[in-house]
Amino acid sequence: MIPKRLYTYAGWLLRVALIVLFVRDLAPIKPRVHLDLPQTVVTEHPAVCVHTRLTDEVEEWKIQRTLQMVREMGAATIVEYFPWPYAERNRGTYNWTHADRIMRHAANQGLTVIARLDRSPAWARPPIQEKVTTLTYLEEEYFDEFAAFVGAFVNRYSTLYGDQLRGVIIWNEPNLSLEWGGRAPDPEAYTELLRQAYAAAHAANPDITVFGAALAPTTEAEDSSAGMNEIDYLTRMYAAGAAGTFDVLAVHTYGFTQPATTDPDPDVINFRRIELLREVMIAHGDGDTPMTITESGWNDDPRWTNAVRPVQRITYTLAAFQMVEAWPWVDHLCLWIFRQPADHRNRRDMYYSLVSSDFYAKPIYEVIQAYAHDWENPYLP
């Protein structure tokens, strides 16, 4: 016979279970992420491109929403950053979870991806007891390991998504000490890194495009501890035999306070500074190699001395797109930065972004969308 007390306990247990179920159901449902039907980008201006920043985005629905908005804007190509340490945290073992997520959604939206690959995992840097190094520090003896990662990346995503992986950018702004492990920039060492990565990428997919790293636009002198003038750096790369080690040269060119049309000047950072790099390429017989602008744009922070007013940002950006379309040697202009995960994370990027962190399309987004579709500009006559 079942004791009566047991019934009482069971009754209370049932009540508690019901309350737990009820309270749990009060919590907001997590957004469910399903792939759309395969999409294609509609655009009249294929040069329109954006640099997304999904590396730091942990929520999948935000990755999807970002890429949907990129497609809706009319940009057919994105530049995205895939850090080596994220994929190969343990030597010889690849974890592609996050990269897969980004590539899957990009392909689903019909976007072509240019992947920036750089940074060093802890195992490829000296132990901290021996030497304190940064994530951008890579000794020459590990160049082959980085090249192997580049080959693995190209192999995986060329196999999975074919041409939707357009290419890989080898490292980022190596002419800055900050991006070269806190050491003096070394164009010869970088050229060797590029040579090895180029071979590995093409071994994985002969049709892949290997981009020479975009150099930071800077007027630093060659003996500066912070960085090296990118014109001098590229010249030394060619002297070290860089011709033929990249299919396209990636370029970072920012307008700062000047219009897109301002003439280039070695002592000034402006949009047309890219033409100075072009001259170096031509001077070294590499004029047939195209260029892709993988970072560019104007900032409309109301207080930064290198920023412009929002209306200037709009007019300069449109002028830059028109200029690039007239240059046969540049195929894309990718604006920095589409969206950042949290607006307050980086005040400067907040005023470079096209979309707020809560996915509100800023006027500059609408203007570029109108341009890409040949619609009427919603903000300017």
């Binding site: 900050l178 109301p302 930064w304 209306v311 709009i314 949290a342 800023k362 006027p363 203007v367």
Partner: protein, 282 residues
């Protein structure tokens, strides 16, 4: 051996006593445990005898120094002059140093390096139009706000508007594509009708209000204060429509410095020093 025997006898007596008075023993045990826990908590709190110490604060007090990082490219908050770094934030940093009895050394760095400099201990605090970022709160302590750089309504003194809800069915002037424009666009969705009138500059938006072409302008507080300095027929709303509080960032481990800086800011607000600094530049 005799000592061990003595302890054993005492424990045995205690045990016997507890057996005779179980409830009393339980109560005493509970009280003792509570005393131990409270004592442990008190002794291991930051700054207590066995707790972590704020080395930066002690260094600052012994050496009479305070290292502050900023990027001097954001006038009127920070800017280069031929002699030194000036601006609202430079003045606030120096005033905090005065109140802490130390000399403020301003270290100039690029915006990108500010948090890294704080993390590595190169500077004690950074002040640079920062907003509290939850992503950093594991190791960063943010002070109370010293300035609200958000979007504020500017209206005529004769026809004051204090809240954007009052603009339902009316016209708001903004700088085209600015943060004020974006904020107004968001409000269009919440009100029955809000007409947005766009101008190329914030001053032009405020001028439209003066002319009666718009009921209010929604602009950033810096632009608004600079314009209102020469136009006394306009007024600011009592609160920003979109707040953007600027705060000072310090390492959370420097709990004593955090508290002292917060106190200094509170005192500066109370005695009007902060307002005087801001009024000097805006």
């Amino acid at each position: 051996m005799r000592l061990l025997k003595g302890i054993y006898h005492h424990l045995r007596h205690l045990y016997m006593w507890a057996k005779l008075h179980p409830r009393l023993a339980l109560a005493l045990c509970t009280i003792l445990c509570a005393i131990f826990l409270i004592a442990g908590w008190l002794l291991t709190r930051p700054g207590a005898l066995l707790g972590p110490q704020d080395g930066t604060w002690y260094r600052s007090q012994i050496n009479k120094d305070l290292y502050v990082g900023l990027d001097p490219n954001y006038p009127p908050f920070t800017e280069w002059t031929p002699d030194q770094i000036e601006g609202i934030e430079a003045d606030i940093a120096r005033e905090i140093g005065n109140r802490l009895g130390v000399t403020t050394s301003i270290l100039i760095m690029g915006y990108d390096g500010l948090y890294d400099s704080l993390y590595t201990g190169y500077v004690d605090m950074i002040i640079f139009g920062l907003s509290a970022d939850p992503a950093y709160e594991e190791w960063v302590y943010y002070s109370r706000p010293y300035y609200d750089a958000g979007q504020i309504l500017v209206s005529r003194v004769a026809a004051p508007v204090d809240n954007i809800r009052e603009l339902d069915g009316k016209t708001v002037a903004v700088e085209l594509a600015s943060a004020g424009d974006i904020a107004a666009q968001r409000w269009v969705r919440r009100l029955h009708a809000l007409d947005i009138q766009r101008h190329l500059l914030p001053d032009e938006a405020m001028h439209a209000v003066q002319l009666g072409e718009a009921d209010a302008a929604l602009v950033d507080t810096v632009s608004a204060r600079l314009y209102l300095a020469d136009h006394d027929d306009l007024r600011l709303a009592s609160k920003t429509t979109v707040a953007n509080g600027y705060v000072i960032a310090m390492r959370k481990a420097n709990f004593r410095l955090n508290a002292e800086v917060d106190q200094a800011l509170a005192d500066m607000i109370a005695d009007g020093t902060l307002d005087a600094i801001i009024a000097r530049w805006l």
